[in-house]
């Protein structure tokens, strides 16, 4: 039998169900890999004992022929901004370095109920604010394809962990591209569902009208399997979609599927990215897809719109970190105001402070009309533009990012860093489902990806198109250093 980490999540689950491999062997194999490949720095914490106990129980269940869950024996990692009861949720921040989750996030509970083996929690940009995982207050994570490069962010730990096959499924959260951009930069599949498809209960809030939990995995089928488990209505999240659970069956062609190309919006693509993008479109055409140009020029204002609205929401959400009820409290604070001011000074990193200030500024008296209210109207125009585009096509294709993974420390200008998300943010603006799929490599042999966007609620078809493209293109690989 091949190495356990050469299986996809779905294949490994099936091997377990057929009795070819024990859950305990799987848990040991991946826990060992996490330890052996510490150079990636993907994990903030691991739960060896917890995972082995779960695996033993699962093996007993299987031996007794009792029913097991859909994620049985799949090694899973959680982005460390979602709660696993009894364990620490740091959110990549000094503020929460000792915060012990008093309950399970709904997505995490569903993974546990479906017998996923939770191995540990992965690194992220502090409070999920960043595109490189360099903003983690603990340490940066590295890209398994080249350790000098960033893995993307903010779910960089999850993307790197899946790419190096330290687990076969990881959760991420996506506010402006935080699942899809790192997935693209690390050469794995990353899926952001329709807004509200996965409950946000137990996810540390960043921008509440943007945040969405989703999976990162080696294949589209794995991501679809995770969605069958996580895509459930939840009474603890008022924005959770109250719709029947969906079944994700995956056909293999794109016959008569109409693919939209936002040609004008993409006209300044770098040649290498452009070539890769149009090669992917050709592959889709060879599978029967028809193409049509769509007008989404308004999306050139996505970054400005996003950084006004998402930081406004973040400044409100992060007001709860006041040093009173949980998190750290400054020892030198003598008054209540000092508790707030000093605790937030030492607890938050620089990027978080910047975004809280920016968000507060755009909401403050005298600036709210020019920034916040203006951006809310532009958001309406962008949703209108997508609605119009989707009246002419079934899916719209974007690159994942303007470049492949860049070297750590090389992007220092804040606007340049924010532009990393120019092709991912539009999905969050309009609450659309979008998947990032490997589409080849750049001249440095760093992975590239394309994204498939679908209309709101069309999660299943987005993954079906992605599966068909993936089967025909087969660009996914394991980075050479982590093959053995």
């Amino acid at each position: 039998m091949k190495n356990l980490h050469h299986f996809s999540a779905t294949e490994l689950r099936d091997a377990f169900l057929k009795g070819k491999v024990k859950a305990v062997e799987i848990a040991r194999h991946f826990l060992d890999r996490i330890e052996r490949h510490g150079d990636v720095k993907a994990f903030l914490s691991t739960f060896g004992e917890r995972a082995l106990q779960k695996a033993e129980a699962l093996d007993r269940k299987r031996e007794k022929k009792l029913p097991v869950g859909k994620l049985a024996a799949i090694p899973v990692a959680l982005k460390d901004n979602m709660h696993l009861s009894g364990e620490i949720t740091t959110c990549g921040s000094q503020f929460l370095k000792n915060y012990r989750a008093p309950f399970d996030a709904t997505a995490v509970r569903l993974i546990e109920e479906h017998d996923g083996l939770i191995l540990g929690k992965t690194n992220l940009d502090e409070f999920a604010m960043g595109s490189s995982t360099e903003n983690s207050s603990f340490f940066p994570t590295h890209n398994p394809w080249d350790l000098k490069c960033v893995p993307g962010g903010s779910s960089g730990g999850s993307a790197a962990a899946v790419a190096a096959r330290l687990c076969l499924l990881a959760t991420g959260s996506d506010t402006g591209g935080s699942i899809r951009q790192p997935a693209g930069l690390c050469g794995v599949v990353g899926y952001k569902p329709t807004y509200g498809r996965v409950s946000r209960y137990g996810l540390v809030a960043f921008g509440s009208s943007w945040d969405q939990i989703g999976p990162l995995a080696p294949t589209v089928a794995d991501a679809a399997l995770a969605m069958e488990v996580m895509g459930r209505h939840c009474e603890h999240d008022a924005t959770s979609l109250d719709l029947p659970p969906e079944s994700y069956s995956l056909p293999k062609d794109l016959k008569e599927v109409k693919i939209g190309i936002p040609r004008k919006f993409l006209e300044s693509l770098q040649p290498e990215i452009s070539k890769n993008y149009f090669a992917a479109i050709e592959t889709m055409k060879s599978l029967g897809a028809k193409t049509i140009d769509v007008d989404l020029d308004i999306l050139k204002h996505s970054i400005a719109t996003y950084y006004i609205l998402a930081t406004a929401e973040a400044s409100t959400n992060l007001a709860r970190f006041d040093g009173i009820r949980y998190g750290i409290r400054s020892a030198k604070a003598k008054t209540l105001d000092q508790v707030y001011e000093y605790s937030r000074q030492i607890g938050f990193g620089r990027e978080v402070k910047k975004r809280i200030m920016l968000g507060t500024y755009v909401l403050s008296a005298g600036y709210q009309d020019a920034f916040y209210k203006k951006a809310q109207k532009v958001r309406t125009l962008m949703i209108d533009a997508f609605e119009k585009a989707f009246s002419d096509c079934d899916a719209i294709i974007f690159p994942v990012a303007p470049t492949g993974a860049f070297e750590s420390g090389t992007i220092t200008d804040p606007v340049a860093m924010y532009l990393q998300d120019c092709f991912t943010i539009p999905a969050n603006i309009a609450g659309l489902p979008a998947v990032s799929v490997p589409s080849g490599f750049d001249s440095r042999r760093m992975p590239l990806g394309i994204q498939i966007y679908g209309p709101q609620l069309c999660d299943v078809s987005v993954l079906q198109y992605a599966h068909a493209y993936e089967q025909a293109s087969r660009h996914a690989r394991i980075p050479p250093r982590y093959e053995a």
């Binding site: 009173i324 937030r344 920034f371 924010y418």
Partner: protein, 98 residues
Amino acid sequence: MEFDRKSLEHLKKLCRIECSEEEEADILTSLQKVLGHMGQLKEVNTEGVPSCNHVLRGMLRNQMRDDEVKNLLPRDKFLGNAPDQIGGMVRVPPVLKG
């Protein structure tokens, strides 16, 4: 109006965040750059366009439930994360004096 050191001082108070001088200089430059970029929205014509209040159109409806009391978070679990506590409550510095 330009975003300057005075705006930053005001903003620090609104946000209840203290910063070191070095941090302040960096934050000031960054915010100036980012706000400059955001200024581009001026060129978009939004006359008569409604604000976006929810991204999912057609899915907007009230989420009602009975207002039942449940014990979702026991006191000791909650206090386990409190930075300071006294007699089963969170302790804070004195708010009223004398």
